[in-house]
């Protein structure tokens, strides 16, 4: 799966969680720009895990602050 494909699939998943309709770029941060609280993070992570059939452990989540890092992490976890 190339980066664009991962990116476009995550973009669909993030929509219902993007309550502010913020523009999503690689530098968009989850805590700051999107104002995700811990419950939103859990539901969003679960949606990604189910979509790609992967686990993103909390240890890995701690390293992911912005959208671009998430796309890269998912790409890596799917074995690309």
């Amino acid at each position: 799966m190339n980066r664009e494909e991962v990116d476009s699939r995550i973009r669909v998943l993030i929509e219902p969680f993007n309550k502010k309709n913020a523009e999503i770029a690689d530098a968009t941060t989850f805590a700051g720009d999107l104002e995700f609280d811990s419950l939103t993070v859990m539901d969003f992570v679960a949606a990604i895990e189910d979509e790609f059939d992967i686990i993103i452990s909390m240890n890995q989540q701690a390293e992911i602050e912005n959208y671009g890092q998430l796309v890269d992490a998912v790409r890596q976890l799917t074995g690309e």
Partner: protein, 406 residues
């Protein structure tokens, strides 16, 4: 040599938001819900709080053992015979006869091969979870787990994977995605203390075992009360034999302080040497282990008290529902009845109105609560009389109407 003096960066600035929330709440004139003082304790269910005679409905003292005459006498005898404290670690000079006796009482209570007593329940979770699950292992746990479970995860080096509360399918899927060959520990609770709901352990333990995971169940809020022998939700649902580790506490039904883990694992005893929250702290005082051992043994034969506690829980739950309160569970599932408040302000107002009526409950708020809820959490005691439960319902009705919640 030139020296530059930098301005000290205040490390407390990170607490400003919570300081502000607290000041705003107290500025409304409400009595501080987190600074209550019990000046006198009259019984497991009565105290003088902030100068008022008060019914206690938020103590986790489920079985009312704190003033049991046999328990008190055992503590007094231990103080006389063994002194006020051990001043030592369990693995050095801190294991007295009483520590061995309470561990023996726990082995008999749970019918298990091994028991290990910690200085608090918090440390039992901290120690077992951080030690058993190491680097490269996976901990799969319920998102609504108690702080001591999360802190046990944070202290260790395992990969931490949470799933949605009580969601069997979500747990199953996550276990299925763990890399081949990795060690797996599933961490569950019998009763979740915020809403008082129980876990579907029968299904969850079966799923965990199908994936080859070890299972730890925290039965802090069910011991002494749920299950035929009071061993907890895992006993009640018939899966206790498939649970690898049960964590419990002396600070609820047992009526003192301390924590423990019981297990049938053949290598369990090695934990006494490798579990840091067990080794690097002083052991419980002799009077505490003596009261705990006496209480645990009495809880083996407490069937009538268990039945009365269930009656109390059912009556309070049904009564509050009929008055129009929103509760944490549809049906009473434990000795905890959680009343959901619309927000922190009205929750605090209701808490204060109840206190003025002469009733103490716990005000619980984020981050301890799930989904950002404010709760008035009631925990019943086997020593609450049926009449007291009716009195409590009257207090809730008056306070709820005064604050405008019902």
């Amino acid at each position: 040599m030139g020296e530059t003096v930098s301005e000290t960066r205040d490390l407390f600035s990170k607490f400003d938001e919570i300081i502000q929330t607290r000041e705003t709440l107290l500025a409304s004139g409400v009595e501080d819900p987190f600074s209550l003082v019990m000046e006198k304790v009259l019984s497991p269910t009565r105290a003088i709080c902030n100068g008022r005679s008060t019914i206690l409905l938020g103590t986790y003292n489920y079985m009312g053992m704190t003033f049991d005459p046999d328990v008190i006498q055992a503590g007094k005898d231990a103080l006389d015979n063994y002194g006020s404290g051990t001043t030592g670690s369990r693995v050095l000079n801190g294991t007295y006869q009483g520590h061995k006796e309470v561990e023996q009482a726990l082995r008999e209570f749970y019918a298990m091969d091994h028991a290990m007593v910690f200085s608090t329940g918090y440390q039992a979770n901290l120690g077992i979870i951080s030690t058993v699950a190491g680097k490269g292992d996976y901990i799969v746990l319920d998102i609504d787990s108690h702080a001591s479970i999360w802190d046990g995860c944070a202290l260790g080096n395992a990969e931490v994977v949470p799933f949605k509360h009580n969601d069997i399918e979500a747990m199953d899927k996550r276990l299925g995605r763990i890399p081949e060959g990795a060690g797996k520990l599933v961490v569950l609770e019998g009763v979740y203390s915020m809403l008082g709901d129980i876990a579907p352990l029968k299904e969850m333990v079966a799923v965990a075992k199908r994936h080859g995971a070890m299972v730890l169940v925290d039965e802090a809020h069910s011991m002494g009360f749920i299950g035929e022998h009071g061993r907890g939700v895992a006993e009640a649902q018939g899966v206790i034999d498939n649970v690898d580790f049960i964590i419990g506490t002396f600070s609820k039904s047992v009526g003192t302080v301390g924590g423990f883990c019981v297990s049938n694992h053949p290598k369990f005893e090695i934990l006494r040497l490798v579990c840091r929250p067990y080794v690097f702290t002083a052991s419980l005082p002799p009077s505490v282990v003596a009261t705990a051992a006496t209480s645990v043994r009495k809880l083996m034969h407490a069937g009538n008290k268990r039945a009365h506690l269930w009656e109390n829980s059912k009556r309070l739950h049904g009564g509050l529902r009929a008055q129009g309160f929103t509760l944490g569970t549809e049906e009473p599932q434990s000795a905890i009845v959680a009343v959901i408040m619309p927000d922190l302000e009205r929750g605090a107002a209701m808490w204060e109105a109840l206190l003025k009526e002469g009733l103490y409950v716990n005000l619980a708020r984020p981050p301890a609560t799930p989904a950002g809820m404010t709760l008035l959490r009631c925990s019943l005691c086997a020593e609450h009389s049926s009449e007291e439960v009716e009195t409590i319902l009257g207090m809730f009705e008056r306070a709820g109407k005064a604050v405008g919640i019902i």
